[in-house]
Symmetry: C2
Subunit: 223 residues, 2 copies
């Protein structure tokens, strides 16, 4: 599915990532943990094709997207890839239904099928009855669930999620992780950043980031 | 410190809170837990004088602020009350230092003293070196720590925090809760919403909200 070779990222003089090597196989479920500010979001923004200014090489399905134009990027993001942002990034003037249907805009499915997919996923994440609410009329956890629904509605091959349960209580978190597990069992590759070790246990494998470097086991990041 | 009597809140036809009764004594440390969408943020927005359109009565230090003008509200919010928002609400074009000094604007302390207070709190929350970064140049957890620093910089009598550790790893969470514990031991009243039962253990008492109603013990909300 993807291969990262010697990737680095700086913001001006500040080094956020260095010497990152990572391979994720098709159908894998990977968790990424690490302290606040260690570089997790920076790394998955690169994996999600949201940040193209890095050093080293990144191949997604054996292809590099470094020099691809925005149109092609939106196409692949709509079809192949679902992203759950740490701060949700919902469209503030659109309601729950409209926010979730965004990835389907590029898809060639007919209207009835699209409507069904959106209604199904709204029910799955427990937001039935909130279809007409705009983000400011939702709680923090409800907004997060809209962001999750939007990422999975088009059944992408790869889901990348940045702390998908950060704003959720433990019962709702379990419900979301059950959805991810079912999607993974059906073949979806999932890469998930989390601070919650109980959530990380849903993944097959966990890697750790500390001060911009990647480690395979937690011992080397314990200070 | 505060007394809530038969408070309710609706958004159009939707009832978010009903029949809420709560008393919090001076120097208490109270946790509020409950499922996503149950009414936690709605309640603490009322307690923090951010939402004045509710039914019932709310007295803060034996005074009602329902008919107070905006200027007086900003004054009391600056001096007496520190609020940590669930979505941080940082000023996007200001840097870390400037965001944290906002509550001091109303304060009559002299400039040197203000500078010292801001520098101390930046160090306390582990953001030394990030003073000049604007929110978009910070990680999720770093932004949350700026929001926490802003709420405590002016040593308010009452701190109200909405999931203050939601974007933090467990080590950084403990560091923040240690800060809250020290402030509480020095006499600060703290009311904190959390989804994390380990974080709730730092409080003296926990109340639970479910579907807009308040309960004193968890058993009655277990479904
Ligand atoms: N402006 C609004 N208009 C309509 N409904 C609203 C509005 N704000 C909140 N709600 C609804 O009120 C209910 C309570 O919201 P609240 O933000 O208090 O929940 P919460 O307990 O803080 O949840 P979370 O843990 O997800 O943050 C939710 O069902 C939400 O959809
Ligand atoms: N645009 C930027 N300019 C400068 N520094 C940045 C920028 N974006 C991020 N950083 C810095 O890069 C580092 C890594 O940030 P990143 O968002 O990847 O952390 P994270 O591991 O996701 O943390 P958290 O768990 O708090 O979300 C941080 O020290 C942050 O301050
Ligand atoms: Mg992050
Ligand atoms: Mg809330």
């Amino acid at each position: 599915m993807l291969k990262v070779t010697d990737v680095g990222k700086t913001y001006g003089k500040f080094t956020a990532l260095e010497n990152i090597n990572l391979e994720v196989a098709d159908g894998e479920f990977l968790a990424i943990m690490g302290p606040s500010g260690s570089g997790k979001s920076t790394l998955i923004n690169i994996l999600g094709l949201l940040d193209q200014s890095y050093t080293g090489e990144y191949l997604l399905e054996n292809k590099s997207y470094k020099d691809v134009n925005d149109n092609q990027l939106s196409q692949i993001r709509g079809d192949e890839l679902g992203f759950v942002f740490q701060n949700f990034k919902l469209l503030t003037t659109y309601n729950v239904y409209e926010n979730i249907e965004v990835p389907l805009i590029y898809s060639k499915k007919e209207q009835n099928k699209k409507r069904q997919l959106v209604a199904d996923v709204i029910d799955k994440v427990g937001l039935k009855g909130k279809e007409k609410n705009i983000p400011s009329e939702l709680s923090g956890g409800q907004q997060q669930r809209v962001a999750i629904a939007r990422a999975i509605v088009n059944r992408p091959k790869l889901i990348i999620a940045d702390e998908p349960t950060g704003a959720l209580d433990s019962k709702t978190s379990k419900e979301i992780m059950d959805i991810f597990t079912k999607l993974n069992q059906a073949g979806t590759t999932i890469i998930m950043v989390t601070h919650d070790s109980e959530v990380a246990e849903y993944a097959m494998r966990t890697v750790y980031i500390r001060d911009g470097r990647l480690y395979n086991d937690e011992k080397s990041v314990k200070n």
